[in-house]
């Protein structure tokens, strides 16, 4: 299958919520070491709320991928809080604007990831190497572009997720210069950035959601 549909987008959010819940303590610990320890809880609360709304029969049925992502964006914006709330909120909002279609092919997926990255940069004004979620999303966007010609759309997602994961791992030795971890200066080195890590988890969830559909 070479397109991702609305059902995929909804599955993505479900898998992301499940995986973030499972990684909650890991994210908490990362943020406890170089931040204030709330990243896991904040994101868990936000994604649970997204799933809650997706499952709510009172909500209008989503007809495009963009509608799913817009619902995720506004829900996260109003439930996550902290730095990650507006960052993820803006990322999904921008992504929703370029995905207002019932199905996405490889090009659509590339646009989605690029738009998310742009949203994060527009809000947070960070660049690669500052030990933030940009260190996951920028390599993800680049890898997606490189994979744009892939036969299966899931391969584009796979490339993006793998790059995000590697990008997140690359934050370990970095000294943070943006966000709360920057207050620790040198002491921030040695710990993976929690926002980069959660970004990698969310992109991996997109792959799992696509694989689940055989996509």
């Amino acid at each position: 299958m070479s397109v991702l549909d609305v059902a995929w987008a909804e599955r993505w959010m479900h898998v992301a919520a499940t995986d973030v819940r499972a990684a909650r303590d890991e994210l908490t610990e990362l943020d406890r070491r170089i931040g204030d320890g709330d990243h896991g809880v904040n994101l868990d609360r936000g994604l649970s709320a997204v799933v809650g709304r997706l499952d709510d029969p009172a909500q209008p049925v989503r007809e495009t991928v963009g509608q799913v992502l817009r619902l995720a964006a506004t829900t996260m914006m109003s439930t996550v809080g902290g730095a990650a709330g507006p960052l993820y909120g803006t990322a999904f909002l921008r992504a929703s604007k370029v995905t207002d279609r019932a199905e996405l092919g490889p090009t659509g997926v590339v646009a989605l990831v690029e738009a998310a990255l742009e949203g994060i940069v527009a809000r947070g004004r960070a660049t690669v190497g500052e030990k933030t979620m940009v260190d996951a999303w920028q390599p993800a966007a680049e890898a997606a572009e490189r994979a744009e010609g892939a036969e299966h759309v899931v391969d584009v997602l796979r490339a993006a997720a793998a790059a995000a994961s590697a990008g997140s791992a690359s934050t370990v030795p970095l000294v943070a210069t943006k966000g709360r971890a920057s207050y620790l200066a040198e002491r921030s080195a040695g710990t993976e950035d929690p926002g980069a890590r959660s970004s990698a988890i969310i992109l991996a969830a997109a792959v799992a959601a696509a694989e689940g559909s055989g996509g």
Binding site: D36, D38, N42, S78, V80, P86
Partner: protein, 331 residues
């Protein structure tokens, strides 16, 4: 972890409900989204002053809502910035027709969420000016950080901006005075113990029995360096010196000296620190003309303190002295 709470996820709301009942004459608490409004709202035609941030710093900010200080406060989850829709709702509800000053502590989360909230209400025609509080000298203000954090100095900004608004100053003037406070206020803190965020269930950092953390923030995040635990005299010097140097205080200048408790430190110890700080300032010929001692900007049950110094002039002194009637500060 032992706390006087029920469900940690409900703790902020539970606390706000109790707060609303205890101070029914002064404040009103709204939910969905959550914010605290001065009872009766901002007097028509008066500039509103609004602030907010993560919970866990009580009495900041909700305790300063009332007459002569804040018109609304926006509490987030514990140590988590509130969301844009909360900020927007509070800004809108507080607007008395003369515009709103948003007092924002300089944390990425607070900045981004308030920024988004302000965009929302400005689109609806509410006039908002934001002032960023960044008094924490522990963070070197350089290219390599998110900038100095906003900590206990926020109390001075809120008090003085609120007094300016109460005497009828317009939004530009209130904002200018708030900026003057920001320019003249500096803080440095120390932690003796860490604190435990209810839904995390374990301390925010690990500190040995013979260590203290200098340059601590107010979110359970670790500070800049650790030193072995020493007496009040030594620790006070480590807090006062960087503050005074950063402010470049000259002999003969007048200041407000504010010794703030982090939550778990007894008042008696704060007075010991206050006394030591007075000596150090006197040695430099700095005159303490106003004082505040107490736990006003806390980190849950953390043991520790911060020292804040604000450069005073006649106008700031007058505004500091102006009447204030809030749950946590009144004179």
């Amino acid at each position: 972890m032992k706390k006087l709470l029920d469900d940690p996820a409900q703790a902020v709301d539970d606390s706000l409900r109790g707060f609303a009942l205890a101070h029914a004459g002064e404040v009103e608490v709204r939910f969905d989204p959550t914010f605290v409004l001065r009872a009766g709202g901002t007097p028509p035609g008066q500039v509103a002053v609004v602030s907010g941030g993560g919970s866990g710093h009580e009495p900041l900010h909700a305790g300063f809502v009332g007459s002569g200080m804040l018109d609304a406060a926006v509490p987030g989850a514990v140590f988590t910035s509130p969301t844009p829709d909360q900020a927007a709702a509070a800004l809108q509800a507080a607007d008395g027709g003369a515009g709103v000053l948003a007092v924002v502590k300089n944390y990425t989360g607070d900045v981004l969420n308030f920024e988004t909230g302000v965009e929302l209400v400005q689109a609806d025609g509410t006039e908002v000016v934001s002032v960023l509080v960044n008094d924490d000298v522990a963070v070197e203000d350089s290219l390599y950080t998110a900038g100095r954090r906003g900590v206990a100095g926020t109390v001075a900004v809120e008090k003085i901006a609120g007094a300016a608004a109460a005497r009828g100053d317009d939004l530009a003037t209130v904002a200018e005075l708030a900026e003057r406070v920001v320019a003249g206020v500096r803080t440095m803190g120390v932690a003796l113990t860490a604190c435990t965020v209810p839904h995390v269930g374990r301390p925010g950092f690990d500190l040995a029995d013979d260590e203290v953390e200098i340059g601590i923030g107010i979110h359970g995040e670790p500070g800049r360096h650790r030193v072995s635990a020493s007496g009040a005299t030594d620790i006070t010097r480590r807090l006062v010196d960087p503050v005074v140097e950063d402010l470049d205080l000259a002999e003969g200048e007048r200041v407000l000296l504010f010794v703030n408790g982090m939550g778990g430190t007894p008042l008696s110890e704060l007075y010991v620190v206050y006394g030591r700080a007075r000596e150090l300032l006197a040695e430099r010929g700095v005159e303490v003309t106003r004082s505040l001692v107490g736990s006003y900007v806390t980190s849950l049950e953390m043991q520790g303190a911060s020292i804040t110094v604000l450069r005073l002039d006649d106008e700031l002194t007058e505004l500091w002295d102006a009447p204030v009637r809030t749950p946590a500060l009144r004179w």
